[in-house]
Symmetry: C2
Subunit: 290 residues, 2 copies
């Protein structure tokens, strides 16, 4: 009873995906290959792992057991690749970084540019996402994050502190400056229901006009003159068509961190990027606070 490890991995993918097609895409093979591998494992173990139903392959209890252990194997493989990557002393190959979408442009653009010029042999992959990637699973080597702490089993370095304030289109700003009684129309992000706390009491009329689930959309709306947005300084300052409005004194915001898995942290490429990044961020600290 000798079973290919790749076949076990295939069982894992099929248990996760539920259908041959989904597992196949996950593994980067044709779905017929998945079907044949499953058949092979079942023959080798002498056990039925899946019920073939009209809407997909339904795992038996045994298949779930197999998947559970295959997931452990996957974790070991992840750790392995992290370890190899972490002891990589070369400044060639690919470095994958991830950062919040909006940090890429004004804040990180110069850093990315400098890195590419300094290390032209390194191919840089940038993954701009709103939901953080899993560094343990090597979805990226390195992440720039806006948060209070690096996650568990991650190494982190705080780059700069941040504050946020209120920004709006110039004509909205004029309006507010001239008439303290004019209503302040807030453009709120995501789960924030209410008017920001700590607003300047000399403007008494606040209301939440629109809520957005996306920061790009908020900036666009603010540029279009739809209202006032509470955004981090670097965003408000670098977005054309926005000016700061005094209705909200600067407030503390989450810091910017560079984080990586502790296994990957010592890698040459990560270290190189880190150096350029920290130097640049500390030199431009003023961008992020009042």
């Amino acid at each position: 009873m000798d079973i290919s490890w790749d076949d076990l991995r295939t069982v894992l993918a099929l248990v996760r995906g539920g259908t041959l097609a989904s597992a196949a895409q996950d593994l980067g093979v044709a779905y017929t290959t998945v079907a044949r591998r499953i058949a092979r494992v079942e023959a080798a173990m002498g056990v039925t792992l899946f019920e073939r139903l009209a809407d997909g392959y339904k795992p038996t209890e045994t298949a779930k057991l197999v998947a559970e252990h295959a997931a452990q194997m996957e974790q070991s493989q992840d750790a392995l690749l992290r370890g190899v990557s972490g002891r990589d002393k070369r400044l060639t190959g690919t470095l994958t970084i991830t950062a919040p979408q909006l940090l890429i442009g004004p804040a990180l653009g110069p850093v990315i540019d400098a890195f590419c010029k300094t290390y032209p042999e390194v191919r840089l992959d940038v993954r701009a996402t709103n939901t953080p990637l899993d560094l343990a699973r090597r979805e990226a080597d390195l992440a720039i994050r806006i948060s209070r702490e690096p996650g568990d089993s991650l190494m982190g370095l705080r780059l700069v502190e941040q504050q946020m304030a209120a920004f709006a289109a110039p004509d909205v700003a004029d309006c507010i400056a001239q008439d303290h009684q004019s209503p302040i129309d807030w453009l709120n992000y995501a789960a924030f229901e209410d008017v920001p706390k700590g607003v300047d009491p000399s403007w008494p009329n606040h209301r939440v006009r629109i809520r957005f689930d996306d920061m790009v959309a908020i900036l666009g709306a603010a540029q279009a003159g739809l209202g006032v947005a509470r955004v981090p300084f670097f965003l408000g300052r670098t977005t054309v068509g926005l000016v700061q409005v005094p209705v909200l004194p600067p407030q503390p915001y989450m810091d910017i961190w560079i984080v990586a898995h502790r296994d990957v942290w010592p890698s040459a490429k990560v270290t190189a990027f880190r150096e350029i990044l920290t130097t640049h961020m500390r030199a431009n600290r003023a961008l992020y606070v009042a």
Copy 2:
């Protein structure tokens, strides 16, 4: 950078074996296949894993790291196979048992026979070894052992208590019975340097004549009249051409246990064998003690 799990397993085998041929035998493939898989992994990871030397492949530090994690994966796979085997409710297929060489004949013969007759659908593999097999790595499903305790992470059941005594060829026994002054020539096992403790003081002349590293050889020597051997009762009694001699009163010896890995323990085949075995051993308890 997507690496086949089977290739990682190949790295592990090569780190363990040191040569292509050894790794190939371990994996059951041709050594050329091993060489090509290694080349493929190195290309995929962009790292040199082995130095090609005249006397084999010497692993780099990176290869050792890979092997370390691949060993973890192997452990997960072992656990997986144990789990699947443990929940196997069928009384077909193969059951692998292991026992000390000399226990197979007189003590377990009838049990094995009965099991085969009761469950003709089960193919029984018997591995008679002097060094215990690794049940965690599934070298056997079930072991009968002579020891004080089952190992860690193993389930065990004590079958019978044992005693040992002195046995010799009939003419040697006659000699001893007639002349208490005659020298008692002991045939010692392995590390035992001295005459057994607790010998009957009415025979004052003891000496160690020969030491053996093998129990079969001791029995043969005793049969041939070369001296007196201290052996468990079941062995002395069932070896033709040996009779008990009174120079050594019965002494306690290690018990006989049936052990299996806790994952495998509940399997139908293991349970079936256990039932037949315990019944038989308890019925024949008298064979093992004075």
